[in-house]
């Protein structure tokens, strides 16, 4: 067995014997994917609505009937203005609609509990569309790429962006730093093994682990989550591999800076996890951020990766549409690798 092979074997043995970590690492992506795909959605269901009607007309009756039948609403009933306020204040209903006829025309007002702004906005939009549908000009809405507006489509790229940073950057840096702490890194460094072999011996096993996770996540996305399968999966795979390499390089860089496992964990947690969740466009659209933050998001790898994944996975466009993302990611990988190797060798 060559030195390189035996180093990799050692790493794999270490990983496998740390059974808990491996389970967590393999289970977390699946759980996150299923959780975000099914349980958590940014859509709003079961908006509890009451109506206040000054004078019933055919029109108001029709609208109320539409509330009753619409699956997004739970129609609580027609109440007086006073009752409506109490109900809203007590949190028994989420929204109220009042109808008033003025000069023969029906006017309406929507009152919504905005303690959760996200929900309030969505509910308002639903209410508007239910009230206005049926009269005047019909609006035909055609949502491309995600006809059912399922949030899973939005989250899959985001979760992939997050998972690979965690697995690769966090686990690699922690495992290298733990070797520094236990002193085995020193044993390797005084041995005739070339430093680049030591580094590769650390990175390759985590790369393999990432590939397993990628397979797992893609299988789930294309089957359970129902993302349409096409040949663009090949592009998804190689762009993800590029991202994994970047994350591994980041892990290596962290390991050269951090001297204890805890600090490695903190650095990768604070430097990557939080920005990835908040600033990568995974949950909050980058376009809505203040300009300064938008510039800042440019240095977050996940932002580019997630954007590329949306184009390749959801829109399924050819690779020509992600050239910017791919070149930014490649550039970052190169810079981080050079920095990490320089720092790794600088200790002499």
């Amino acid at each position: 067995m060559s030195v390189f092979q035996s180093l990799i074997k050692k790493e794999i043995l270490h990983l496998m014997r740390d059974f808990r970590t491996v389970t967590v690492v393999l289970v977390i992506p699946v759980v996150l994917l299923l959780l975000f795909g099914f349980a958590i959605s940014t859509g709003v269901n079961n908006v509890r609505v009451v109506a206040v009607v000054e004078q019933h007309t055919d029109e108001t009756k029709q609208i109320i009937e539409r509330f009753r039948t619409n699956s997004y609403f739970t129609f609580v009933g027609v109440v007086t203005r006073n009752d409506m306020e109490t109900l809203l204040r007590k949190g028994r209903v989420d929204a109220a609609v009042t109808f008033r006829t003025e000069k023969g025309k029906l006017k309406h007002q929507i009152i919504v509990d905005a303690s959760n702004t996200n929900m309030a906005q969505t509910a308002t939009a639903y209410l508007e569309s239910v009230i206005s549908s049926g009269n005047s000009i019909p609006v035909v809405i055609n949502t491309l790429y995600n006809p059912q507006l399922r949030s899973a489509y939005n989250f899959v790229p985001g979760i992939m962006g997050m998972i690979f940073i965690i697995i690769c950057a966090m686990m690699t840096s922690v495992s290298i730093v733990s070797e520094k702490e236990s002193g085995t890194m020193n044993l390797l460094l005084v041995s005739p093994v070339r430093p680049y072999i030591i580094i590769l011996g650390k990175l390759v096993p985590y790369f393999m682990l990432s590939c397993i996770i990628l397979t797992l996540m893609l299988m789930l996305s294309y089957t359970v989550l129902g993302i349409p399968f096409s040949f663009s999966v090949i592009n998804v795979i190689w762009v993800t591999i590029l991202y994994v390499i970047l994350a591994l390089a980041l892990g290596l860089l962290i390991s050269t800076i951090a001297s204890t496992q805890v600090s490695a964990l903190l650095v990768s947690g604070v430097m990557f996890m939080i920005p990835v969740v908040l600033l990568s466009g995974m949950i909050f659209p980058v376009e809505n951020m203040p300009l300064v933050l938008q510039w800042f998001t440019c240095i977050i790898p996940a932002r580019w990766y997630i954007s590329a994944m949306r184009i390749l996975m959801i829109q399924q466009l050819p690779v020509g549409y992600v050239l910017t993302e791919v070149s930014v990611l490649s550039g970052m990988t190169l810079v981080v690798l050079i920095l990490a190797i320089k720092k790794f060798n600088a200790k002499k």
């Binding site: 067995m1 002193g183 085995t184 020193n186 044993l187 005084v190 041995s191 005739p192 093994v193």
Partner: protein, 247 residues
């Protein structure tokens, strides 16, 4: 001296900015010798040892280890030395055999050689029934023996032992020194740092480092005579008196 010289350094100096960790040290160690490298924490022992092991380069000075130049042939040096760290560092999640096999492979031994030598060593140490036990589960004394075995299985010219007896009970320490003697009698040079001054008595020659300099270098008997001391402990206290770096 008629014996072959395996470590020879002259005016070795290492500076970190304004701090001079190692200040013009000159040592010669011959084959088969047990060389004690003493000094308080912070005296510069570790830095000097790192240079000798090819882990670090000197700011100035020259030298050879195992016949190779410490500046130009650091990689060659690594091939001909063994190193045991003060924490008996081994891979905790690997078994005794896996650790031995890994490091022997790293030092370029063939699978056949490893099997043959490891078998003999396990037998000599009485560790045969521990082959498949995870290192984290074996007692400290065994871990120490294993770490020494791992450092010497490839029969290096020189083995560097960095505080190889820290935290171990006196009986195990004496047993360990028997291993060192055996290695030395087989022609291996042993370069050892220690904090236990009674152990310094076991060395053929001892150097005492103070503030980056080598303040004293002789056989334990020679040192005791020169400083009119009864024990090495006394010698050390006289020599290290006035040290500025101490922690």
């Amino acid at each position: 001296m008629d014996k072959e010289i395996v470590i020879s350094v002259k005016d070795l100096t290492k500076k970190f900015g304004n701090f001079i960790a190692v200040d013009h040290i000159t040592i010669q160690v011959s084959r088969g010798e047990i060389f004690g490298f003493l000094g308080a924490n912070g005296a510069g022992k570790t830095t000097a040892m790192r240079i000798l092991c090819g882990l670090s380069f000197p700011t100035s000075g020259t030298g050879t280890v195992a016949g190779y130049d410490i500046i130009r042939q650091a990689e060659e040096i690594k091939r001909h030395i063994g190193y045991m760290s003060q924490k008996f560092s081994l891979y905790e999640e690997l078994t005794v055999w896996e650790n031995l096999n890994l490091f022997a492979t790293i030092y370029g031994m063939s699978a056949k050689d490893i099997k043959k030598k490891a078998g003999a060593v396990f037998e000599a140490l009485g560790m045969e029934n521990m082959r498949n036990v995870l290192v984290k589960e074996i007692p400290l004394g065994w871990k120490q023996k294993l770490a020494f075995t791992v450092a010497t299985l490839h029969s290096p010219d020189i083995v560097f032992l960095d505080e190889p007896t820290g935290g171990v009970d006196p009986f195990t320490r004496r047993k360990f020194w028997e291993m060192i003697y055996r290695a030395s009698s087989e022609g291996m040079t042993v370069f050892v740092t220690t904090h236990y001054l009674d152990e310094a008595e076991y060395c053929n020659r001892v150097s005492i480092m103070v503030d980056g300099h080598i303040k004293a270098l002789d056989s334990p008997t020679g040192l005791k005579q020169r400083y009119h001391a009864e024990t090495m402990d006394e010698v050390f206290r006289i020599v290290a008196r006035g040290a500025k770096r101490w922690d």
